[in-house]
Symmetry: C2
Subunit: 445 residues, 2 copies
C-alpha cells in the first residue's frame, strides 16, 4: 500500500437493496484510515407543512416517528439532521431509540413552538450554536405559523479523526404560493443570514456540511446566493451515483401528505431539501452516492413524511497541501446574484414601509376616534346634551372597538418597523459585499 | 536595527495633554512596521439609560453628539465603538463629521428602536455580522424599554497590514436594581451568547477586540463567564499606564446625568464599560495605556454622556511561532463560574415557568368567563329570563374586559414560553460545556 494512502480518511458505506443501508464494511477497504461511515440524512420523516408534525395536528405522527426511529436504527447513519421535530417528546422518543447507534444528539430550542431542528451523531458533539433568523414571516399569519417556530440555523461541531466538521441544519420559511410569494424577501434575507453565519463560523472548520429544508427550488435566487456566497456545493449535482425520486425531487405528487394542486406545474415534484458541502482547509469532499426515499415505507401504507429524505455518502480526503481559496461562483455571476437578491430585498422593503405607514395611520385614526369619544363623554357630563338620552351601550362598544384597533395597529406598526430595519440592514450588507467584490474579488473567503 | 524587528507591527500613539490624543508620530519610532495608531473608544458620548439618547427624551442630545463628533475628529482614533446611538440621524451626523479621519463605518440595525451600536474605522471594514440576543427583558416593561432596542452584538472585520481584527461591539441589558435584579438571568444568557458568538466567529482572527457597555461590575458572574470562556483580557487590569476616573469607573456620581441614589453604595462609581482583547494566532496584544474621560467637556457645563468613555492604546506584536492554546481561566475556576452561571439561569427558568403558568391560567379563566357570558346571552335570547331587563351595558363591558384579559394573557403566555425555551437551551449548552471541560480540558479554544 503506498504511503500516501495513509493520509486519506475515507467515509463510506455498504449499500444493500432498497433503502437498506449498512455501514459495517467500507466500500473502499484498500484505504487504511477508514474510520466510520457518515450518512447525512436531513428531512427524514419530517413534514414541510409546519402543522404536519405538530402534536394533535399531524397525521399519524407518533407512528411515523416510530418508523423513522426504527429505520435510522437499522441503517446506522453517522449523522442525522432532522427538521420539524416540533415536540420535545418526539425528540426524546428518537433519542431513546437511537441511543445505541447515535449516542450524541442536540435539540435546538427557539421561538414559541421550537425550531424543530435536531441532530443525532455517532461522534461526540464538541460545541453548538443557534442563530435565529431576524425575519421569519408575520405573527398574524396564524394559518401559516412559520413565525411561531422561530426559524433558525443550528450549528454543531463534530471532530472525527482530527477533522473538524461544522454541521449546519436549517429550515427556511415555507413558500405558500409560487406566483404571489409574499415571503420571498424574508426567505432571501434568511438565505443571506445563513450564508453569512456559515462564512463567519466555519473559518476554522475542515469540512462544512449543510442539510435541511431550504424551501427553494435549485434555480431560485436564495439558493444561488447561498451557494455563491459560501462556495457550498450541491450533493445532488455532484453525486457520482444517484438513486431515488426523479430529478432528486423531495416533494413529490405521489406522497399522500402533499397537496396535489400546489404541485400541478411540476409533474415530477420539486427539489427543496438539500445536502450541501465544502472542504475549507486541506481537505476535499466528494459525494459518492446520493439517495432519496421514494414514497411509502416498505410494507406500510404511509410515507415517513410529506418530504422525501435525502441521504448522502461523502468521501473526505486529506490533501498534501492546503487548498487554495475556494470561490463558489465566478465574480460576475456572483455580482449578478447579489444584485438580484438586493432587488428582492428592496421589493420587500417597499412593502414593509407601506405596511408600517398604513398601520401607523390606522393607529392615529383610532386614537383620534377615542379622543372624540372622550370629548363627547365630557360634553354629556358637562350637561351640553342634557335633554337627550345618552346611548351608553353603543358608545362603550365603539370605544372598545377603537381601543382594540389602536392596540392592534400599534403592534403591527412596531412589527413592521422591525421588518423595515432588518430589510434595510440586509440591503446595506449586500451592497457592502458587492463593493467588496468589486474592490478585491479574491478576498472573499 | 536587528532583523527581527521587521516582524513587529506596532500600533501606538502620541499623547498630548488633557484628553488630546494625536496619532501622527509613533511612540516607538525604532520599530519599522509602524503602521497606524489604533485607539479603541467605546461608550463615547452615549448614555447608559436607554431613554437618555432617544430623540425628544435625551437631554441636550444634539449638542452632545456634536461635541462627541468634534472630539473624535480632533483625536483621530483608529477605531471608535459607540453604543446608544438610537437615532439614525445622529449616526449620519457623526458619519459626516468623521468622514475625514474615520471614513469607514457601520450602523447595526435591530429591534424596534435599533441596536444603538455603530463602529467608525480608519481602515476598510471587510465584513459585518449582527447577532441578536435571544432574551432581552420584557416587552411590557415599557419604563425600561430594553426589549425594544433588540440588544445585539455587532461584529466588524477589519484587516490592517495583513492582520485580521475581529471587533465586537455590544450593549447588554441594564441593571435597574442591584438588590432585586430581575434581569440577571437574561444578562447571564446574553453574556453566554456573547462568549459563544465570539468563540465561534473569531477562529480565523488574529486579534479579537470587544468594547461596550456590558452593564456588569468586574466581579459579576456574567463578566467572569465571558472572560473565562473566551480568554479575553481586561484592558483596565492589563494597562501599563492608566489615567482617568478612580478605579477606572465609567458611571461616576459627579456626572450630572447619573442618578445619584443608584450609586450610593459605590461612592467612587462603578466600572461597567469595558475594552477586552486577546490575540488568537501568532500575535500578542498589550495595552500600553488606558484612559477614561473625567466628567464635563473641557470648557463646557455638560459631559459627553452619562457614562465616561474608555480609550485604549494597544500594541500588537507578531510572534515568531504560533502561540499556544490560550486558556482564559484555569479549569477548576472556569467550572465554578459555569456552575454559578447555570444556577442563575435555573433561577430565571423557575421564574419564567411560574409566569408562563400564571399567564396561561389567567387566559383560561378569561376564556371561561367569555363562555359563561355567551351562555348567558343564549339564555336571554332563548327567553329564559323574559321577565327581567337585560343589563346590556355592563354585560358588554365585562365581555370586552374578558376579551382584553384573554388577549393579553395569551400574549404573555407565548412570550414566557419563548423565555422558558431559551433559558432551557442555554442551561443545556452550559451543561454540555461543563461536560466538555471535564473530558478534555485543553480542547476549549
Amino acid at each position: 500500500m503506498p504511503a500516501s494512502l495513509w493520509d486519506h480518511t475515507v467515509f463510506t458505506a455498504q449499500t444493500g437493496q432498497g433503502i437498506q443501508l449498512g455501514f459495517d464494511l467500507p466500500l473502499c477497504s484498500s484505504f487504511s484510515h477508514v474510520e466510520r461511515v457518515p450518512h447525512v440524512l436531513p428531512k427524514w420523516g419530517c413534514a414541510a407543512s409546519p402543522c404536519r408534525a405538530i402534536r394533535y395536528l399531524s397525521k399519524r405522527r407518533q407512528e411515523r416517528i416510530c418508523l423513522i426511529g426504527d429505520q435510522l436504527c437499522r441503517e446506522g447513519f453517522d449523522l442525522v439532521l432532522l427538521q420539524e421535530i416540533w415536540s420535545e417528546s418526539d425528540y426524546s422518543a428518537l433519542k431513546a431509540k437511537l441511543g445505541g447507534c447515535c449516542p450524541f444528539s442536540h435539540y435546538f430550542r427557539s421561538g414559541v413552538i421550537g425550531s424543530g431542528l435536531c441532530v443525532f451523531s455517532k461522534f461526540p458533539i464538541v460545541d453548538t450554536l443557534l442563530y435565529q433568523y431576524s425575519l421569519n414571516g408575520y405573527p398574524y399569519m396564524l394559518q401559516h405559523g412559520d413565525w411561531f417556530c422561530g426559524k433558525s440555523v443550528g450549528l454543531v461541531i463534530v471532530r472525527i479523526a482530527e477533522i473538524t466538521f461544522n454541521i449546519y441544519v436549517t429550515h427556511l420559511h415555507a413558500e405558500y404560493s409560487r406566483e404571489k410569494d409574499a415571503y420571498l424577501p424574508h426567505r432571501v434575507v434568511q438565505a443571506w443570514e445563513l450564508a453569512q453565519f456559515i462564512r463567519h463560523t466555519a473559518k476554522a472548520a475542515d469540512v462544512v456540511l449543510l442539510g435541511g429544508d431550504l424551501n427553494m427550488h435549485p434555480g431560485d435566487v436564495g439558493i444561488r446566493l447561498l451557494r455563491g456566497w459560501t462556495g457550498l456545493r450541491d450533493a445532488f449535482t455532484e453525486a457520482k451515483h444517484f438513486e431515488g425520486c426523479e430529478d432528486g425531487c423531495t416533494l413529490v405528487p405521489n406522497n399522500c401528505f402533499t397537496v396535489k394542486s400546489e404541485l400541478q406545474p411540476f409533474p415530477l415534484g420539486i427539489r427543496i431539501d438539500y445536502i450541501l458541502y465544502k472542504a475549507v482547509s486541506s481537505f476535499t469532499v466528494r459525494c459518492e452516492e446520493l439517495r432519496t426515499t421514494t414514497g411509502t415505507v416498505p410494507g406500510m401504507d404511509i410515507p415517513y413524511s410529506d418530504h422525501e429524505a435525502v441521504m448522502a455518502m461523502l468521501c473526505i480526503q486529506r490533501l498534501g497541501q492546503t487548498a487554495g481559496v475556494t470561490i463558489g461562483t465566478a465574480m460576475p455571476a456572483l455580482m449578478e446574484v447579489l444584485s438580484e437578491a438586493r432587488t428582492e430585498v428592496c421589493v420587500g422593503l417597499l412593502a414593509a414601509r407601506r405596511q408600517r405607514y398604513s398601520s401607523g395611520r390606522m393607529a392615529v385614526l383610532a386614537m383620534l376616534l377615542l379622543l372624540l369619544q372622550a370629548a363627547g363623554v365630557l360634553g354629556v357630563l358637562g350637561g351640553l346634551a342634557a335633554g337627550k338620552t345618552f346611548p351608553a351601550l353603543s358608545f362603550s362598544l365603539l370605544a372598545f372597538l377603537a381601543l382594540a384597533i389602536l392596540l392592534l395597529s400599534a403592534g403591527l406598526h412596531l412589527f413592521h418597523s422591525i421588518e423595515v430595519k432588518m430589510l434595510q440592514g440586509t440591503k446595506e450588507q449586500m451592497e457592502m459585499a458587492m463593493r467588496g467584490l468589486q474592490e478585491q474579488p479574491l478576498h472573499r473567503h
